[in-house]
Symmetry: C2
């Protein structure tokens, strides 16, 4: 890639991160191009679709997912608290931008999505947590990480849309957790 191309590409990603944080994932791409000081054509050549752009700016997010998951897995406490901690981490990770929960949760179910590779990192993280809990016999049979992603993703989507705060979200996550844990 030519030096000027790389410069422009990087600048677009950087600007897009700010714009999406401000306005959500449906912000105008022409605005991104304008703020980045490039033409619309340049933006669309680098990133044919909106999702391609989102995919690019998620690189740093991937690192964050792994790091947060490690922290959760290292947690010493009851199974229920660990699961809840994971749920809260999950919600946080997908709620960094307005519209993120819906975007990511949808993408996880769609093999065609350009941001699928990033979603797989997240579902992999969910697998790690659920495997650990399953190994301890903490989960009901039939419960799997796909369900976790759907249920917690659904809660996060509602919370995002309705702008619920953490205090309103917690009881919802508790219900989901209690529905998944083996009966005492």
């Amino acid at each position: 890639m030519r030096a000027d191309a790389k410069r422009n590409r990087d600048r677009i990603v950087e600007v897009a991160r700010d714009v999406f944080r401000e306005q959500g994932y449906d912000a105008s791409l022409d605005l991104v191009a304008k703020r980045a000081g490039v033409g619309a054509g340049t933006l669309y050549r680098h990133f044919p679709t909106r999702d391609d752009l989102i995919d690019a700016l998620m690189q740093s997010w991937v690192d964050r997912v792994t790091e947060s998951t490690d922290k959760v897995l290292a947690f010493e406490g009851s199974d229920r608290d660990l699961l809840l901690r994971w749920f809260e981490t999950y919600v946080e990770l997908i709620s960094l931008h307005k519209g993120g929960p819906a975007k990511i949760t949808t993408a996880m179910g769609n093999p065609e999505s350009p941001i699928r590779s990033k979603c797989q990192v997240l579902s992999g993280a969910a697998d790690r947590v659920m495997d650990q809990l399953a190994a301890r016999g903490a989960l009901r049979p039939g419960v799997d990480s796909v369900q976790v992603c759907r249920l917690v993703g659904g809660v996060a989507a509602v919370a995002d849309q309705s702008e619920l705060d953490a205090d309103a979200v917690r009881p919802l996550l508790e219900v989901v957790a209690d529905g998944m844990l083996a009966r005492a």
Copy 2:
């Protein structure tokens, strides 16, 4: 209201119902106007926002909500099955159109929404079901119908976006139900 105005208004609602069913709630309103044989101005005079239009075509939906709820409440069976039946009914009711779950669940949390009055019918229905279960001592303390709407609305939104079928949705609803029911 003048006779011609009423004629046009009714026709717009009728056409909008078809168009939204075909294309989802974000279909072009100009298309609705065109198919209804009226100008865009006429449509926007009757329905200043998209939500106002959606609100109008939900009238018949309201009847359906009440009817379905009655059927659930009359159900003879275990508390768990009744709750699950209600969840499935709820999902069905808000999933009649593509994008419905997200639309309705968001509106339920927003006092400003033009379709709020219709959503209140739904939350009222949820209250009836939850009250009946609570009276039997079937629910954990702290569980309320707002949580039900959020949780089940979240599941429905994910199912809608990812086009999950009923078989994939059921286990999710079971988790939620088990998380809400009093421990055996």
